[in-house]
Subunit: 364 residues, 4 copies
């Protein structure tokens, strides 16, 4: 018979004694009590707790993807992990509104005591970025220094480890490259898609040229745009051109992974592609939410200190705005919509592939 | 060759001339301009626009479920429809914060001109409730009158039609009852589940009786609770008892549908059950969001008019609080968690069923 | 010359070593890793951090109000404290959405290890309730026991202390009772207001009686409602009746405080009443936000465990729903809107009082 | 005796017949029903309704400020108007989440029918920008064309009118310049502030030079930063330099208005400055919320169409990102925090000014 577990007390389980003794305002230490410093400490601690949780979720997701073959069950789990991260991110963003209740003057009451501590030193957040797969080339430098140069040796080691381990970006790239539907039993996705694109593009050109209501100026501008669009598609349809984009840092996924992501987006109505489509969507969500958080963080810093330098000695607002722009991981997926074509132009899947992609809840 | 579509102008497409001429404050008509009446009109119009959209989504979902056999593709579409409704509901709730910028005194500036108009007369919202499947027995009466007695004849007809048509509740009940996994190829879900429950419950009883750290008083209280739990499970395991609950209005789904919903919740990790599980979850979300909206609406009305009667002649706050409590459609699904058992106790599925519930993205 | 402060490192300042070592899942301790237990711990710790911050804000507000005479500067500070609490409350509510990403089955993976720990044992939250001034009579009992009976002796002492100290409700009551505008230089607010109410009520009665378009049935119903309204106003205008309501537990503020709150609400357009009006509004906001949080918490618990008993051995959903209904502190302020009258009926203030209530930014 | 107002029916009051007949999807007109076009229409109509409301609030605020002398009561009203706009803006932002439930493929189902209609043609939104006071120089050009060149003649006239009328920016500039506290009865704010800044800056320089723990490299970097800060303050303390910034488009407020805004921010704890401080804060809030909306709008467009050109023939994502950066009105106020100094360095106000800035609720 199973034994009962020993009884648990709420405050012990959560280690509240310890947790609630981690707040020691410097202003009190110096005998110059500043009411709002407590808020400053607690909001940052709440952020760090949530970063720990995000790391917990990402570790689990990475674990699922580091296998040779990813179970379909695992994909469902990975989606749940990412979904939770997005729920946490909403709280991260909402927490900025709490900080905004501290006015610039209230902040100045204790700001000088904190120099040169700074949010740039949050090693957990840097680990999150590394686990997602932020490329070192995309990282904004702070006063011309590497992101790991501002933290303690111990934390620097953690950062370098996380930088060297498998990232979610790498894991997803591998997983996408293994998806078998692109060329299966005589079906050639790339060929079918290329034909559809050629048809569609040709038609668009005809419409522009023959549209009687267009002035010459407008027609020419539309033809320019058309050429632009055409070139983008050509780059997608040609593996060499894709690899050039990779070499120049404009794409990160392999060619095959890019096509697989496109396939999933185009045929997402097929039941079996429902989960993969959600998965890719959540990757973009996670990226976008961090971008939004950085962006609103930058606005908040501007309202707090104007164009002063931050406590860490850098132009806080400017740095954060740059990271909002550049610290993106899954930007390849943001390019996919460019290459979608209307359902009415979409080539039908061959019957046997379609039936592989379907399943049935009801008895036949 | 396809012809170009005629060019469209933003303001014409959205019929802005017409749309923006629908706001005629009574206070202006009576020469007693009250600044906030415009807000009052516009916020209610925004609500009605969104109700129209919700009806559009529900019509589409109902259409998909009124077929003899629901396609798996359609289930994905139905999930998308419900998800959109939940996104709209968040705006409905957020809009209450706009109304709260109107203070009670501001409202009194024009309140008398509106009598007896009232939100109770929003026929679109009543149609939404009917399409979801709110049972007439659960409807809170307003001053002892039926919900359709306060609207015009024309709108009354619309309400009665929507009441008589297939509701989402009915459609889901039918769909759940058709799911084949409960008894397939010798597998008997009910039997397996009943055995697991009996085992688990017996174990729990042993633990209580043999726990040396319990005082007699605590042991007896725990045994009482245990008996309570046991009875709930017995009611679930016995079709007759379930039907009694249906007869007394405490359950609405058929016995088979209830078991199917339980099966989906217990085995939701199986890939093929991912979409059905999401679907059931969204049904509860939609219910809960309307509940939250009614609840916050009730709080807002209280802040606006205290315990005065509403413009429609009823105790607004009280009525809305009651609807928040009683106007629930999918309460059967809220009972499912009561009957979940830990994964460690969950009986394994037979191999052939498990393989029917699985699918594979990768080449074997 | 001032010396530079010693340099501070982010991780030391926030005591991250300590903070991030407070998470020890029981499921790991028992060798049965349950992924979601980490979330369960961290979300509760985040709640406790924020409760500490709310206590910090309330302590400061109480301190300002415990003086013999409240400075106007202090009122501005008190408003800032309350505003911050409402910003925190939005995060408390948003955090529920994170918990909802844990499914009932995920929770069952570790639930048994936690018995009988429970959120009821959050002594910090009970302290918040006491500091606000939740009356012991309004507290919902849990299994017939007092709220402080479930916590450790040490925490019990903290609870009883906070119960015996000055509460915000008491402090506000005293402050309101000191406001001098009700009878100043011959002006008698109660008399003026009573006259206006009598005029308004008489007019309403005439309208009902002489309205030719009313059926007898409707006229009688409207007259009933009218009598109801009349009685409410009579209770407000008679100090003895007010004191009866206090004695029976239906009101908590003194008569003079109630009139002062009404005065502030009626004449809030006067510049000098701007801050007092905001202050009263935030008191209601804080109350309402906790109500909403309890309510959504109750819904979440229902989705998680259905109608099972909670880990603390009580019917979690039911208890929480009751607290959402009854754990209100400033309900007297929620009655104020009942007694507001339209600006068009509002008696003018005498000139000298009006000029006392005004101030001017610009040169005369 | 007052007569009863004629009874009002909800659906007539809101003109629902008309309002709900303004949705005519092009895809239905062309016999190619696209389910999501209804959403596309309704969400844009909801936006336009709210734009109308924002215009209503701004008109009222502008009206209050166009008087020779702004009443203090009016300032309270203006704050209420701006607060409501911020509540509406939160809904505008939340509505983007509804659009995001439309996937790129769903959009492609009807996108071609709408060309060249585009949100750029929302004349109401342009009017909002003009009423706030967006300068024509800050407007991002669309394909090198003026913002009013894409709308109908009738709407163009509305835009030009709103561009020529008094803007909120102009009205606030005038109001700030009239505030008398900067030089009153011998008090000279600029002098006092300049002295405090000089003291503070000198002290900072000493600390850097004499800090023994700094390496030469760090000391030099800190001295560089110090010089930078010093220059910013010098520009603020010198009217000529300020006017140069105005001439070069880097500042918009007059020198006196800038100092008044600084004064309000520094001495906001004084009761009489409470409302002016809130007012300035809301101006920044309104600006920032529109910035956030444009930014999230840009992200949404990118997810919908990638880097395709928008229906209006422009690179939607890019244009919107630029407006998020440049379409700011009250950026002068965002510079104020740069010039705040800690309360401990803040010169005391002379007694008679302080007593002018105070008021008392309680009897002396």
């Amino acid at each position: 018979m199973q034994k009962p577990y020993p009884p648990v007390y709420y405050a012990d389980y959560l280690q509240l004694d310890k947790l609630l003794s981690c707040q020691n305002p410097k202003s009190d230490e110096y005998g110059k009590h500043a009411h709002d410093e407590m808020l400053f400490i607690i909001v940052h601690q709440a952020y760090e707790l949530w970063f720990k949780q995000i790391i917990h979720e990402l570790s689990s997701a990475l674990n699922l993807f580091s296998k040779e073959k990813t179970d379909e069950k695992d994909l469902g789990t990975a989606v749940a992990r990412l979904r939770r991260i997005t729920a946490i991110q909403k709280v991260l963003i909402e927490q900025l509104n709490i900080i905004e209740t501290m006015t610039p003057l209230d902040f100045l009451d204790f700001r000088d005591y904190l120099i040169p501590a700074s949010g740039f030193q949050s090693f957990q957040f840097r680990i999150v970025e590394n686990m997602l797969g932020l490329s070192i080339d995309n990282r904004v430098k702070l006063d011309n220094k590497n992101y790991y140069s501002l933290v303690s040796d111990e934390h620097q080691k953690l950062l370098l480890d996380s930088q060297n381990n498998l990232s979610l970006h790498q894991a997803v790239d591998k997983w996408l490259s293994r998806i078998p539907f692109l060329d299966i039993g005589g079906y050639d996705f790339l060929l079918e898609y290329a034909n559809a694109v050629t048809r569609m593009i040709g038609n668009e050109r005809d419409i522009i040229i023959n549209n009687p209501s267009l002035s010459d100026e407008k027609r020419n501008r539309q033809l320019d745009e058309f050429e632009n669009t055409k070139k983008k598609f050509e780059a997608l349809l040609d593996e060499n051109k894709h690899n050039e984009l990779v070499a120049s840092g404009n794409r990160r996924f392999s060619y095959r992974s890019t096509l697989a992501a496109l396939f999933i987006n185009l045929y997402r109505d097929e039941p079996i592609l429902h989960l993969p489509y959600r998965f890719l969507t959540y990757l973009v969500d996670v990226d976008e939410n961090f971008t939004t958080w950085r962006y609103k963080h930058a606005l908040m810093v501007q309202r707090m200190i104007g164009s002063k330098v931050g406590t860490g000695g850098s132009s806080g607002h400017h740095y954060l705005m740059q990271t909002a722009e550049k610290h993106k991981v899954f930007s390849d997926l943001l390019e996919i919509p460019t290459f979608l074509i209307p359902r009415s132009e979409l080539p039908d899947l061959p019957d046997d592939l379609r039936s592989r992609l379907a399943f049935s809840y009801e008895l036949k």
